[in-house]
């Protein structure tokens, strides 16, 4: 059998990669390209006619103040969330790999929030902040406390808090894998050379776990930048649209206000910003990686 003919290759490709390729093109590649085209039209979502408007949508996106406010808010939210997610996840990973009794149980427990969708998590925390927190705060102060979700800064704080709680368990698993990959003999060698445990951690373990850090920070940045579910269920952008993150703004622009072309242009800008931040972070992170 000649394995170098065109018809053999075509048959192999169609047989094995055909279904996957068709689906991949149908829902990722074609919509992506079509989305680029949509940014040059002022489609209203209903009519078959899509008037061509050139760069008007990009101009509108750059002058859409609410969008840039939402994007800036997303950046602030992401910075806080990413920092705290990774600090907490690293601490959890350290605790559950230190050989304490029941560490598998704790590992499984901290992961639980990741099993449940953002919509449900958001509503659960909405109840916690609106009812349980208010009950505790009222009992302590003796007066009528108000829910943090109804104050401007409070809503953003709640969003960050819930995201940290939600993702820390997931990132913990990656850090756990990182801890396990650093062999005990290296730490022991450092201790014999006179390192205290904390010095061994700082100078041996953490540098060797650099790839775990790069990966966790990349994952948490790319997730935080496009978060939508929790934003929708926990704050819904309230109070007074002060907790609308970029993804929610894009959704509203397209599907609520029916500015599909503008919404798509803003989605594209969000993607470019997110990808630029993520890739820069990975490049900086990879530069100093060390091998054991």
């Amino acid at each position: 059998m000649n394995r170098n003919t065109f018809s053999y290759k075509l048959r192999q490709i169609l047989m094995f990669a055909g279904p996957g390729t068709i689906l991949f093109f149908a829902v990722v590649v074609v919509p992506f390209v079509y989305g680029l085209y949509l940014t040059f039209t002022s489609w209203d979502g209903v009519s078959a006619h899509k008037p061509f408007v050139g760069f008007a949508n990009y101009a509108a996106a750059f002058s859409d103040g609410a969008y840039w406010v939402a994007l800036g808010r997303t950046a602030i939210y992401s910075i806080f969330a990413v920092v705290f997610i990774n600090i907490l996840a690293f601490a959890l990973a350290y605790l559950v790999t230190s050989g304490v009794k029941g560490q598998n149980f704790f590992r499984a427990g901290f992961f639980v929030p990741n099993l449940i969708g953002g919509i449900v998590l958001g509503y659960i925390w909405k109840f916690v902040f609106n009812r349980a927190y208010v009950a505790i705060a009222s009992a302590i102060t003796g007066g009528m406390a108000i829910s943090p979700l109804s104050t401007t800064g409070g809503a953003m704080f709640c969003l960050i808090f819930v995201s940290v709680w939600q993702y820390a368990g997931y990132m913990m698993l990656i850090y756990v894998a990182g801890f396990m990959s650093v062999s005990d003999s290296l730490k022991e060698a450092a201790m014999i050379d006179g390192c205290t445990p904390s010095q061994a951690m700082r100078n041996v373990t953490i540098p060797l776990m650099r790839s775990s850090f790069v990966q966790c920070i990349f994952l948490s940045i790319t997730r935080c930048f496009v978060v939508y579910d929790v934003n929708l269920s926990l704050t819904k952008g309230e109070p007074f649209n002060t907790s609308v993150l970029a993804a929610m703004h894009v959704y509203n622009q397209a599907f609520t206000y029916k500015n599909y072309g503008l919404g798509q242009a803003e989605a594209l800008i969000l993607f470019i910003v997110c990808a630029a931040v993520g890739i820069t972070q990975v490049m900086i992170g990879k530069r100093g990686e060390v091998e054991a």
Partner: protein, 287 residues
């Protein structure tokens, strides 16, 4: 006390401190779930007056469940979620494993290397960039929204790239070429070789992909909410959102609905916890 005894005592103390910190963090982590469980057995008035009490003033009640289940149409949305999750997951595994096989074994063909590069590059595209064109193409041009099959194929199409990437790694490193050559000599076609030799050896990766994708499909909100607007087709996350929109003041029912929405996956986790944690870890570390 000798030096060694001192060190041992210090170690023991550190150990105790760590366990205490772990327990405190653990309580903090599961506290929201506990609050839901406590309040689900109370009447609305009791929840409002004291959300922290273990048992409400009007006593223990089960009435929130049947009412929430009826209003949410729980069994129907549960069935929808189950059908969509299972079929999408199985489909993703089959099409991705097949695609990765031809890509790995024929890496020199331009089509294969090009397709793989495109798939890897596409993994950074967030869903927000694709949602408007998806609705425009499949709602506006083809008019195929509001079908379970549409959502299933979309779920599959979105996860093909990641799954192919994972199978690619597994075939590349774990499946020796000699095995396939032996199958060829024994008279297997490429198709038979894949299904009889390669696919069974991919079991660990199949489990990882199944766990990661099934959880993602089960919990996904944004895509299903855009595709399925017909109430009869709602999945659990959409139904929860719709339920909250209508009954947000009836807090007892909300508690029951939230618990019902979490329960299936929590029960599954109870039994498959070891596999889920292992699967997510290997998926995350490779991805």
């Amino acid at each position: 006390m000798t030096q060694n005894e001192k060190a041992a005592a210090a170690k023991k103390r550190n150990h105790a401190i760590m366990i205490i910190i772990l327990i405190l963090l653990f309580i903090l982590f599961i506290m929201p779930f506990i609050l839901v469980i406590i309040n689900v057995f109370k009447t609305k008035a009791d929840i409002v007056s004291d959300p922290l009490a273990l048992i409400g003033a009007h006593g223990f009640t089960m009435q929130n469940f049947p009412e929430a289940m009826a209003k949410m149409n729980f069994w129907n949305v549960f069935k929808n979620s189950l059908i969509i999750t299972i079929i999408s997951t199985v489909l993703t595994i089959f099409v991705s494993a097949m695609a990765s096989f031809v890509i790995v074994r024929n890496g020199k063909w331009k089509f294969c290397s090009g397709l793989f590069a495109l798939m890897v590059a596409s993994m950074v595209i967030p869903f927000q960039v694709l949602m408007v064109p998806l609705v425009s193409v499949y709602g506006g041009i083809f008019g195929v929204l509001n079908h379970r099959l549409t959502l299933i194929l979309m779920h599959t199409g979105f996860s093909v790239s990641m799954a192919t990437f994972m199978f690619h790694g597994a075939i590349h490193t774990n499946i020796p070429l000699e095995l396939e050559e032996a199958a060829l000599i024994d008279g297997c076609s490429r198709w038979q070789t894949f299904w009889k030799v390669v696919f069974p050896l991919l079991k660990p990766t199949i489990a990882t992909v199944a766990i990661i994708d099934a959880m993602a499909f089960w919990n996904d909100y944004l895509l299903p909410s855009l595709v399925l607007t017909d109430k009869a087709l709602y999945t659990i996350p959409i139904a929860t959102q719709a339920f909250y929109g209508t009954y947000s003041t009836d807090i007892g029912l909300v508690m029951a609905a939230l618990l019902l929405a979490m329960l299936p996956i929590l029960i599954l986790y109870l039994f498959l916890q070891k596999y889920i944690v292992a699967g997510v870890t290997s998926g995350a570390v490779k991805g």
